[in-house]
């Protein structure tokens, strides 16, 4: 091949790579555009405060679903944060042990399990024995999805704590647990909170595991032993319905979801960057 030809090939290939970037960003722009365009116009005050109206009656909102989603996320965090954080601290403290690599591996496996399968597991454990869908079961399913994310981010960010801090505490005669709880965890706390934020962003948009755990509820409910509405399941129900008014509400719900997740992930991203800069040697 002549040099000119090789240069042309190179230029074409480089151009194709740029095209690939555009091909991926195009749908992103396209989706965000539609969500904002259709969603923002359907969003009003009643959407946040009202209950769903029966078919045929215009108006109504997703007040109960918004509260439901918050309750579900709260329940998930209640269960996943302690397990995930302590597990992450263990992995960071005993990073080279055989047990740690097995657990790390298990967390990776759990991270890859499809959320619908997690839903079946939660159904078998929390719905089948009591024969009732409940917010608790939904929170359990979401918690299982949060755990691996919390574990990995906690581990990574505890590792970022300069080893001098730990060594200093140990040299002063502190026991391992004392060093961890009084020196390392406080130093890593912003990072751990960031991890929780990332995990929350991940589960806030989950629908599949809720379909047969927390199910749905047309009424106002904060009872965690009863089925509960959630933004995602409500969007799904409305999206596959034949009514225009419900479609509008589905877009509004999607808009709200995307906003929540964008804010959470941007905050988390800024926090991580900040932490990395702080801890750079």
């Amino acid at each position: 091949m002549s040099a000119r030809r090789r240069k042309t090939v190179s230029a074409i290939a480089e151009g194709l790579c740029a095209v690939a970037v555009i091909l991926a960003l195009l749908p992103l722009a396209f989706i965000l555009f539609y969500v904002v365009k259709q969603g923002a116009s359907a969003l009003n005050w009643a959407f946040f405060t009202s209950m769903p109206k029966p078919v045929g009656e215009p108006g109504g909102g997703m007040g109960n679903a918004i509260v439901g989603t918050l309750i579900l996320i709260g329940l998930a965090a209640l269960f996943a944060v302690p397990i995930g954080c302590i597990c992450g601290i263990h992995l960071a403290e005993y990073r080279d042990s055989r047990f740690s690599s097995v657990v790390r591996f298990a967390a990776d496996v759990l991270n890859g399990v499809p959320s619908i399968v997690i839903g079946i597991f939660a159904y078998g454990l929390a719905v089948l024995p009591v024969k009732r869908f409940s917010a608790m079961a939904g929170g359990f399913a979401l918690g299982l999805l949060m755990i691996p994310v919390v574990v990995r981010t906690t581990e990574e960010l505890v590792r970022l704590v300069p080893s001098g801090l730990r060594e200093g505490a140990l040299a002063l005669g502190a026991s391992r647990s004392r060093a961890v709880f009084t020196v390392i965890v406080p130093a890593a706390l912003p990072g751990i909170l960031t991890g929780i934020l990332v995990a929350t962003a991940r589960v806030a948009g989950e629908t599949a595991p809720l379909l047969f755990t927390s199910f749905n509820n047309r009424f106002w409910s904060t009872n965690i032993a009863q089925p509960i509405a959630s933004l995602t399941v409500q969007v799904f129900t409305y999206a596959i319905s034949p009514y225009d008014d419900w479609h509008r509400q589905a877009w509004a719900g999607a808009f709200l979801l995307v906003m929540i997740i964008l804010v959470l992930s941007i905050v988390a991203r800024l926090a991580v960057r900040r932490l990395e800069q702080m801890n750079r040697p």
Partner: protein, 317 residues
């Protein structure tokens, strides 16, 4: 030694929490098997090869769902793999420095958008567009098995398209990392021999080949288990067909749609058995991909140790 007793206690308690993660993973496997026993015992292997799914008659064959899951995921990979690789190359090798972070962030954003939002967009925006394209398909092409069937808009092609968009960020972010880990000596050597930019990139890709295959498999793992968006656009009709135009069904979609309707126990167990297979397949695919990614990273790391300390820092940064 009070201190060492204290240390041991700390290790054991935190270890117990860590063990819970292990227990959960094993528990999922056991629970899914236990809850699908009826179906496993009644149908045996014929469950995987049967094409009839008739809950009323109590006949369950999962082949159409397995086909739908595998076919849609493979089609999605055909589209997403070159795009993900292109993005990884552009961001790590070609892009001006100030664009790197924003581009990486934007492509990662594709992974943050919830599946349900993809599905909503799919139903109301993508499906009508696909329907128009299907109507425009010329008659001779329509006779091919690939384009056979009515132009509904919903169907295999639309599902594959949405899946492709959804898995691109997973593959591209890992591929990006792999390329970043390729020792710069590889590219420098290529340049020294008079290579063009693209030829140097090809050397880097060759070096990270295994890891890049791993990155693409990671996307496959995601595609196999994707539920909501696919359920909303694939048409949910159990059939084994090569056509992109026909409505089909996937394993995850049938679980999402029919789980709450499963009136009798055998029906429920049949659905959970599909979940069990999905669980096993995704674990195998994810493990294989981790192994490939890990072996490439390890190779790069070993080479760095051999190289000068300067290169080591360069790669760490």
């Amino acid at each position: 030694m009070r201190r060492s007793a204290d240390d041991r206690l700390f290790r054991l308690t935190t270890g117990a929490f860590a063990a819970m993660v292990l227990v959960i993973v094993v528990g999922i496997g056991i629970e899914l098997t236990r809850q699908s026993m009826l179906s496993i015992q009644k149908f045996g292997w014929s469950f995987w090869t049967g094409r009839t799914w008739d809950p009323v008659a109590g006949e369950f064959g999962a082949l159409p769902f397995i086909w739908g899951t595998l076919y849609s995921s493979l089609l999605a990979l055909l589209l997403s793999a070159p795009i993900a690789l292109g993005i990884a190359i552009f961001i790590s090798e070609l892009s001006p420095r100030f664009l790197r972070q924003p581009l990486a962030y934007l492509t990662d954003l594709l992974a943050a958008i919830p599946s349900i939002v993809y599905g909503l967009w799919g139903i109301f925006v993508l499906v009508p567009i696909v329907r128009k394209l299907e109507l425009l398909t010329p008659e001779p092409l329509r006779r091919l098995p690939l384009f056979h069937g009515p132009p509904l808009g919903v169907g295999m092609g639309t599902a594959a398209l949405i899946l492709a968009v959804m898995v691109v960020p997973f593959s591209s972010s890992v591929a990006r990392e792999i390329l970043k880990n390729v020792p710069s000596a590889q590219r420098e050597a290529a340049y020294a021999l008079g290579a063009t930019r693209w030829e140097a990139i090809k050397v880097a890709i060759g070096y990270g080949k295994t890891g890049i295959i791993g990155a693409i498999m990671l996307g496959l793992g995601r595609a196999l288990g994707e539920t909501m968006a696919v359920t909303m656009v694939i048409g949910n009709n159990p059939q084994v067909s090569l056509s992109l135009f026909t409505p089909q069904y996937t394993m995850a979609a049938v679980i999402a749609n029919e789980f709450t309707e499963a009136a009798d126990e055998l029906y429920l167990h049949a659905l959970i058995e599909i979940g069990l297979l999905l669980f096993v397949i995704t674990i195998v695919v994810n493990l294989a991909s981790r192994l490939l990614i890990w072996s490439t990273k390890k190779r790069a790391a070993e080479l760095v140790v051999l190289a000068s300390p300067a290169t080591k820092e360069e790669i760490a940064a």
